[in-house]
Amino acid sequence: MDIKEYISSGILENYVLGNVSKQEQQEVECMSHIYPEIKSELEQLQSVIESMAIKLEKNPPSHLKSKILTAIKNEKQEALGQKTEAKVVAIDASGNSKLWKYMAAASVVITIGFAYLFYTSNSELKSVKSQLSDMSTEMYENKSNFETELDALSQKVEKKKELLAFLQHSATKKIVLKGTDFQPTSTCIVYFNESTSKVFLDASPQMEKLPQDKQYQLWAIVDGKPVDMGMLTHDKPCEDLCPMPDVSNAQAFAITVEKAGGSPTPSLDKLAVIGNV
């Protein structure tokens, strides 16, 4: 992270002028938390805005103060992550069995109940109203963010649907590749559809971490011969399952340790996991 570059990018100026998206806002706050240089730059810019505000000082009408003080007396402070608890009213139901007593008691309970309901729903309504107005401001800012996020999400959902259809297909087999003497604790799962020839690989296999100059390579065994099925990257390459090349008539799948970039034929002494179809 080049701090100087970040400072000169102009994002801090936009931040203090209130012209950043919600994401950028969080980013700036996070960065200034980590880097004292950014924090000090930000504080300087903020004092510029503060000084500007002080320069604009103007006496509000004198009646406004008491108006505001009255207004806040009716407003509860919002506790952080706390909700007010409903009161429990205990009713003494013991004693006399005469009907009118029960009825009187019942009517009191009902009256209290309604009053309580009315009171809580009314104050809830008020707080919901003010939350709504806060939310509409936020929504205005978030709208475009949400739209991009929505696009990305619907693409994701489509992919997941495809994946689910593949997994539910009657010809899809789950093949567990088990560790060999070379890597006894390793294991990985391959999903293979014999009728469509599609192959997917578990995106987070439980396999030993390799040095940078080595890579895992997937092989399909077709008629006793190994067929190259591609490399596994060091970083997590895809969510859940990774699509691999199609292959038909595979009898087994195996993963070997090869030099980075892969080999034309598998090093059989470096066989990590194998499983039969």
């Binding site: 936009n14 510029v48 000084s51 406004l64 103060k65 505001i68 402070q77 919002e78 401001t137």
Partner: protein, 185 residues
């Protein structure tokens, strides 16, 4: 701000957090002038600014628990609340057709229409004159009208890059000016 002042401010915030309305009154006394000035500049009407200030102070009271002194100064936090409330009001009134487009043109003047100028601020006007009209325009549009840089670019028909450079230059210049100013008082 010097250390004892920060200390007093923190104590005031803590008192407000515990529901003390007298402390809130002190907060109002300390900041209402500046906040009213900003609000009135944004909405261009003292009457509307009054509503904005009331709404903003109620928000400040309600949300005081979310203010975290380690994340920034109290004044900055309150300024943001007031500015957002005011810009929101401005947009609402604009959408109801209560503001003519012309009225939203910047008046290229940072606070000359102040009724009372605090004695401390004498001389600031001269210093502000050092800001080029283009730079003043940027501050007006971005901070006081709530435009995005893209909107300024569309409105003034200048490239987005120019808007970015100008607004950065404006803030830099303001910083210089205020540093100089703070040095003299």
């Amino acid at each position: 701000m010097s250390n004892p002042e920060i200390h007093i401010e923190l104590e005031m915030v803590n008192q407000i957090k515990s529901g003390n309305t007298e402390a809130f009154e002190r907060l109002y006394d300390n900041y209402s002038k500046a906040l009213f000035g900003v609000s009135s500049k944004i909405v261009r009407s003292d009457e509307v600014a009054e509503d904005v200030l009331q709404e903003a102070f109620v928000k400040i009271w309600k949300k005081i628990h979310s203010y975290d002194a380690s994340k920034g100064r109290l004044f900055t936090w309150m300024l943001n609340i007031v500015r957002n409330t005011a810009i929101d009001k401005l947009r609402k009134l604009k959408s109801q057709g209560k503001y003519e487009i012309q009225e939203l043109k910047p008046n290229v003047d940072l606070g000359v229409n102040n009724s009372k100028i605090n004695i401390n601020h004498i001389g600031v006007k001269d210093l502000l004159a050092k800001l080029s009209p283009e730079q003043q325009e940027m501050i007006e549009y971005l901070y006081f009208n709530g435009y995005t840089q893209q909107e300024v670019s569309d409105e003034l028909n200048i490239p987005l890059g120019t808007v970015k450079t100008r607004s950065r230059a404006a803030l830099k210049e303001l910083k210089k000016i205020f540093n100089l100013f703070l040095f003299w008082i």
